[in-house]
């Protein structure tokens, strides 16, 4: 399974629809402080099934919905889609429906989130399993949060074992 594209609409500071194309090799992302770079990483964790609002640096999960700027009103929903190349048909049986999978998570203010794969509603659990099977997911050690690189070193030995379990 390969990651092809991340699409955000109304997620945090990305009010307008935005696509980040994911290609092989090294993709660099730059920009001034506060422009939204780390929000992109959070969008990726969120669509892969992140259930803790703390991991979104938020005080409630609704905080991921665009809250407005001096020129624009806030929105009431946010949506993130991951477009995956599944031509190797490695997805779990229940979701192994096509060569391209579009995994979408959508949240409405005060109504919680809904997950869909190629338009069909699925459970959060199904999405989490889909990514766990592909050695990734919202808690993958390969998604390194800003300022957290030293955390691995300073955390307790038992917590570090989780890293090995990921490798197993």
């Amino acid at each position: 399974m390969k990651f092809e594209r991340l699409r955000l609409h109304g997620f945090k500071s990305f009010c307008d629809q935005t696509d980040l194309v994911l290609e092989p090799g090294l993709t660099g992302v730059v920009g001034p402080n506060g422009c939204g770079k780390s929000n992109l990483v959070e969008a990726m964790r969120w669509v892969m099934g992140e259930s803790s609002y703390k991991a979104m640096r938020a005080s409630g999960m609704d905080d991921v919905i665009f809250s407005g700027s001096s020129n624009r009103p806030g929105r009431n929903s946010a949506e993130v889609t991951l477009i995956l190349d599944n031509s190797d048909r490695s997805a779990p049986a229940a979701l192994n429906v096509a060569d391209t999978l579009e995994v979408t998570r959508r949240i409405e203010r005060e109504q919680g989130s809904v997950y869909r794969v190629n338009g069909r509603e699925v459970r959060a659990r199904d999405v989490q399993l889909l990514f766990a099977d592909a050695s990734t997911g919202a808690h993958s050690p390969a998604l390194v949060r800003q300022g957290q690189i030293g955390e691995l070193i300073s955390s307790k030995p038992v917590k570090r074992r989780a890293l090995l379990e990921e490798a197993a």
Partner: protein, 162 residues
Amino acid sequence: GRARLNDAFDKVNAHFSDLFTTLFGGGTAELTFVESEDPLEAGLEILARPPGKKPQTLTLLSGGEQALTAMALIFAVFLTNPAPICVLDEVDAPLDDANVERFCNLLDSMVERTDTRFVVITHNPITMARVDRLFGVTMAERGVSQLVSIDLTTAHAVREAV
């Protein structure tokens, strides 16, 4: 269960000590199980010794040394069980110029050895100059993020201007 974990430990440990020596240009590092005989209960301890120094507790390592050690461990896990995507959010911030170059060399070798797609968020011009493609996030309209693709030949001039 136990056999799988032991097997993963051996592989990760081999990669870890190899990557550590590459990143630091010398020295040694290894992983050990602590706090229990049973790998399913035990904790994972890291022993790292930068070149020319005596082995010490991990917390005595400097900010940059800890970042490099952590990268060696993350990539060791990677080589054992590659993930489809890796996103690194300003991991080069604590590094000096020489170590940023070493970090970029490691990234290049990871790209060759795995199918993983890497996204690297950075403010460091050295890292910016070594990627295959570059996106800029701007807030041309204050409070609203937009993504623009940057032509690499202009990238060397652009740095933080986006």
